[in-house]
Point group: C2
Chain length 142, copies 2
């Protein structure tokens, strides 16, 4: 994994799996969520810092040392939060790699207008369903 210090904002299902995997792949991972209960999603082996706070506040992002991060992934369930935090990560903290989860596929264009790299789970799932259906009857499970 080419990133040493990764901050993950939003530790729901997606954020927690990413935190566990990146940690296992050797990155130092710091997680941020305003809901302390979200950290229960992390695996017991996850050894990174956990910061409880609203990532919309600069002080919280400073506590997460965004200025030292070489990668920030923003994966909350709220597009407005994701847009804002990714923008701040890029323009205030100059993080070299910033990616966001897009919640509502129709908002993806807004992220791109701000030059933010995105992954959209719902969009990926739609494509996967349509591809599977267009392939015709299910292949025998292997």
């Amino acid at each position: 994994m080419p990133y040493q210090y990764v901050v993950i904002v939003g530790v729901g299902r997606l954020g927690s799996i990413l935190a566990n995997q990146l940690s296992r792949l050797g990155s130092s991972v710091v997680v941020v969520d305003r809901d302390e209960a979200a950290f229960d999603n992390l695996s017991t082996e996850f050894s990174g810092f956990r910061i409880t706070g609203d990532a919309a506040e600069l002080s919280v992002l400073r506590r997460a040392k965004l200025d030292k991060a070489d990668c920030v992934l923003v994966t909350t369930q709220h597009d407005n939060v994701n847009l804002m935090v990714t923008q701040v990560a890029k323009t205030v903290f100059h993080v070299p790699r910033v990616m966001a989860r897009v919640v509502d596929p129709s908002r993806e264009v807004v992220y791109h207008e701000f030059g933010i790299e995105t992954i959209c789970p719902a969009g990926l799932a739609v494509n996967a369903f349509l591809q599977a259906l267009q392939g015709g009857p299910e292949a025998e499970p292997s």
Copy 2:
């Protein structure tokens, strides 16, 4: 699209996009949700039937004419509902093609034990994030 009559259970963000797309691709699409407000997610051009009711009740699935469906997609936010409805679609209504959205990736194995074909948005997103990161610095947006 090789399917004539598709029933979609759960019309949130994912289900509604699938309903709109399959409808546009020429399938007859019936949507089922227990929350009538969910139908607001459908595009104005969506012309299929909308059935308000709990898909965990056989009577609701009968109203959706699952016995006539050649494809059922179950995309609610609840794995227990998705597992149950897909099982009923297969074993009671003998629908030829049944697919489920998996909400919690750790539950995917349970679907597979029941022989249910799955799409897991969170799993797809994790893979997409990791692939993008492992590829190193972001390519210039095209």
